[in-house]
Symmetry: C2
Subunit: 232 residues, 2 copies
DNA sequence: ATCATCAAACTAGTATACAAGTTCACAGGT
DNA sequence: ACCTGTGAACTTGTATACTAGTTTGATGAT
């Protein structure tokens, strides 16, 4: 039995596969399904209340982004946090987000900025009230919107599988770090777009996205059982 | 009945899903399954000789990279060539490959270049003998190896779904264009790595990957039925 | 006590039956 | 002739039965 597993209501137009995916992602990111932990298709099926088919389809998708691992005839597991993989994901995200912010800084209608500005204001609110989960969601939303207004939604979707790896790490460090910098970073990024300054934008994005790397070592020593042993 | 569909032998350790994926990708890229054409899970199942389950799993995966489209309870289709999507894929690929070639140029053991050099020699051979399909495969292989030696395999895999969109286009133009430039481009890229010159590498990669864009308009007018109508 | 063997209880992969929704053509009334 | 409704033949989504391979643990021989 999966103890702390978070279950949500199923949306009306949601297929079983989509529903299961949503549930699994949330529980993996929030570490209710522990890194390295075993997953049983049958168990999940009865737990979530659907058959094995949508469970399988969701697991296959998650295995594509290496967030779960499927060993045929043996079992499926939530992937341990793989440092090399996180670095590769970081490289991918950094590269793409810097390219996208440059695009955004090269010219953007005022109107498209409205959403971003509203988002940042909400972030400030959540930080002041210590609502960390909501802040995390707005953070992701901010970046997603950047891809949307530059017409790069598909790229974002492909990347978002990788982002799960980050979100897991962020869950681990929520209690220990000050989140004000998230808002400040996003403000700097917004400024760069307003000033149409790609270099400033790229710099601000780089600083924002590489901030995490700093405290990984601390988290690693705090939760060694969640990590794959480092480097080859 | 799917008329010209190419069937291959199933590898011994290959799961049904992997097998079907391999078959479908090849037939989509080679346009045996026409852009816009309808796909029936049942039809494919009897054609390929497996049940609907592995077919479905393969189709779901392909729909993630937008190379097929699934409309629940209605039907599945091979996606029309979507110009916007191809541009987005182009942006993604260009961005990532330039970042990777810079990495490669910043330092690489001699030994890791062996594979690339061998690859280019084979390319030259295939060009001289007009073996276009084999050249295409070596071209992809060349880029894949670049990601491998820089430790970015997962990124390549994520990208490779997008690359299918390119490969389809390349199939359309094979009869009309001279392929010698492919080899020349790759030689220039190799040179840049040897000289440890990231700027030259990025330049060469950019030129190589943007060469296609030039003749798209011609292909588009030649096979209008394969394309989605342009821009919004 | 220790090791080998074998069976039972798992695993994921696949096939198939069924459910639910869509399309389309044909029949029948106007 | 034309519109309308109805049902059969599709579609994909889901549940379930079955296959084949792996693990595990108990049993029995040494």
């Amino acid at each position: 039995m999966v103890q702390g597993m978070i279950l949500r209501e199923r949306y009306s137009r949601e297929t079983g596969r989509e529903y299961v995916l949503r549930i699994l992602k949330e529980n993996i990111v929030r570490l209710e399904l522990e890194p390295g932990g075993r997953i049983s298709e049958n168990e999940l099926a009865s737990e979530i209340g659907v058959s094995r088919t949508p469970i399988r389809e969701a697991l296959i998708e998650l295995s594509k982004s290496k967030i779960v691992e499927i060993y045929p005839q043996k079992g499926s597991y939530v992937s341990l946090i793989d440092w090399d993989l996180v670095e590769e994901a970081q490289f991918m995200r950094l590269t793409l987000e810097k390219a996208v912010i440059r695009l955004a800084c090269e010219g953007m209608e005022e109107e498209k900025l409205k959403g971003l500005e509203k988002n940042v204001k909400l972030q400030q609110f959540y930080v002041e009230n210590g609502e960390t989960d909501e802040l995390l969601e707005m953070d992701n939303q901010f970046h997603k919107e950047l891809f949307e207004i530059t017409n790069k939604v598909h790229i974002y979707k492909l990347m978002s599988g990788m982002i799960l790896h980050f979100d897991r790490l962020r869950t681990l460090r929520t209690k220990t770090v000050d989140n004000q910098y998230v808002v400040d970073d996003h403000m700097a990024i917004l400024d760069a777009i307003r000033m149409k300054d790609p270099d400033k934008g790229e710099y601000a994005m780089d600083r924002h996205l590489t901030r995490h790397v700093i405290d990984e070592e601390i988290v690693r020593s705090k939760f060694p059982q969640y990590f794959k042993s480092k480097k080859s």
